[in-house]
């Protein structure tokens, strides 16, 4: 019955497109007077909501704002955009400068006949790392093992969807790149390290996106830590979504339980509760009961709903 009501709700609010399904719902409505009543009440509610419960902007208001915006955009377009200038000219300048410096350095190195012991990368990296040149790491090469990640700042993280390859660029002063397939141990370790140690939320979001491309189960532990400890609510929410297919696992469920209880962001708490409800309603009820006395309308409502359902069940 409740399933059918859910379907009727979706039908009335235009969520169902399949003609056969629509037909079968209408048949069920015809057979059952209670469903018929529910259907007609929903239709009235929909009409009320979509009718005039909302305001429409007047033409004058819109025109006034369009004119004002056109003036603002004209000012914006004349502003000097330093980021564009850098993108157009600065990068090229830096590239030329790097080539000149490299040439100068190589010449000096060649004529001096000895190596420079102050090079930070050469001293740390095993294998055939070439100082001041991009170091590419393929398939968990030992070069990765020699990198002290804490010394380098990530500049960019690129995901090549076609090649299923991930490239992590470090800051220009090191000229360092880690590049490999999405399931490469070097890549996996770097992503895990970044998620736990990086401060920049933008880099973290990209790291999560890269993790999402991988099928490696070793990310779960990192994601659980992120859900519980990351200072950014959007990053915590994204990590929650990423473990949704592992919700049956104890540590994931416990982490979501903690989010319902303690997360500072209400949207995250509701999201976690929704995920728990979909997987284990008894566990979700327990979480709601633990927070029902607090000052959140949503959780108070949920607690009342659970109590009402329990009363019905008795």
């Amino acid at each position: 019955m409740n399933d059918m009501k859910e379907k009727i709700f979706d039908l009335v609010f235009d969520e169902i497109e399949n003609a056969e399904e629509i037909k079968s719902i209408h048949k069920a409505i015809e057979k059952d007077p209670e469903l018929k009543k529910y259907y007609s009440a929903l239709k009235k509610e929909k009409a009320m909501l979509s009718g005039s419960a909302f305001s429409k902007a007047s033409d004058e208001l819109l025109e006034m704002n369009r004119e004002k915006l056109a003036a603002s955009i004209s000012v914006e377009s004349k502003k000097i955009n330093f980021s564009d200038i850098f993108n157009n000219y600065g990068r090229k300048f830096l590239q030329y400068a790097a080539v000149i410096l490299l040439t100068f350095y190589a010449t000096m190195y060649h004529f001096s006949g000895k190596s420079n012991s102050d090079q930070p990368l050469a001293s740390n990296i095993k294998g055939e790392a070439i100082p001041y040149k991009t170091v590419a790491v393929e398939s968990g090469s030992s070069i990765y093992d020699g990198i002290d990640m804490s010394k380098y700042k990530v500049e960019n993280l690129k995901i090549d969807e076609d090649e299923e390859e991930i490239t992590i660029n470090f800051d220009v002063s090191t000229n360092k790149v880690i590049k490999g397939s999405k399931n490469d141990p070097a890549i996996i370790n770097t992503l895990k390290y970044l998620m736990e140690n990086e401060n920049n939320p933008g880099v973290k979001l990209k790291t999560l996106k890269a993790m999402d491309r991988s099928t490696d189960s070793r990310f779960k532990e990192t994601l659980v830590k992120t859900i519980l400890n990351d200072p950014d609510p959007i990053i915590r929410r994204k990590a929650m979504k990423m473990v949704s297919d592992q919700i049956k696992e104890k540590d994931v469920r416990e982490a979501l339980f903690q989010v319902v209880l303690n997360d500072k962001d209400e949207t995250n708490r509701i999201e976690a509760l929704t995920m728990l409800e979909e997987s284990d309603s008894a566990y979700a009820d327990q979480a709601v009961r633990s927070v029902s006395s607090e000052n959140s309308e949503y959780f108070r409502f949920k607690a009342e709903e659970i109590n009402a359902n329990n009363e019905k069940g008795r």
Binding site: D14, A41, M48, L49, K56, L61, M64, T274
Partner: protein, 183 residues
């Protein structure tokens, strides 16, 4: 790529190169809907106008970073909703406004107390007031679903929420209205 997407991409390219008229054409398709959305979330023409300006200036300044694989309208809506929330949260007077709104003098209780069959206009008035009582996010969901007729998955995309959460918000809002007003 469909024709609309191709035209949209052309206009984006021209705008990024500095053609402000192309930007005007690009946003004309959505700006009325965006203004309606802002007006219904913020309930105040001045705030809606501020949010409208800020939304489209953000769109203009960030157009170069827009991912062409994504939906342009979802991107614009997301910026508009976030701008509306920021505008709302910046105004301390909104809390006073809400308190006044929920006071017994707002007419809602008076209508119910009269214990008679309500006219359609009166019912509509009550629905509006019930919608007003919703949180910003719930109000956005109800608006996007009821007024714009968007699918739950599209709303989830715009508000960066789970589809289940969006559906729950909407269910809850409809239930509230049903419980408080006998339509």
């Amino acid at each position: 790529m469909n024709e609309l997407k191709r035209i949209e991409n052309e206009l984006i390219d021209k705008t990024v190169k500095g053609d402000t008229k192309a930007f005007d054409k690009l946003i004309r398709k959505y700006d009325r809907q965006i203004m309606n959305l802002l007006l219904n979330i913020l309930k105040n023409e001045d705030d809606a106008s501020d949010a409208y300006q800020n939304t489209f200036i953000k769109v203009y300044n960030n157009l170069g970073q827009f991912n062409r694989e994504s939906s342009f309208y979802t991107w614009i809506y997301r910026i508009a909703v976030n701008t509306a929330y920021t505008t709302y949260n910046k105004r301390p007077e909104y809390s006073e406004f809400d308190e006044n709104f929920h006071s017994p003098d707002n007419g809602h209780e008076n209508l119910i107390a009269e214990d008679r069959e309500l006219s359609d206009e009166e019912k509509l008035e009550l629905v509006k007031k019930e919608v007003e009582k919703l949180s910003l996010q719930q109000k956005s969901v109800v608006y996007l679903k009821s007024f714009e007729g968007k699918k739950f998955r599209e709303i989830a995309d715009i508000l960066s929420l789970n589809e289940g959460t969006v559906k729950k918000y909407f269910h809850r809002a409809v239930e509230n209205i049903r419980n408080n007003i006998e339509i």
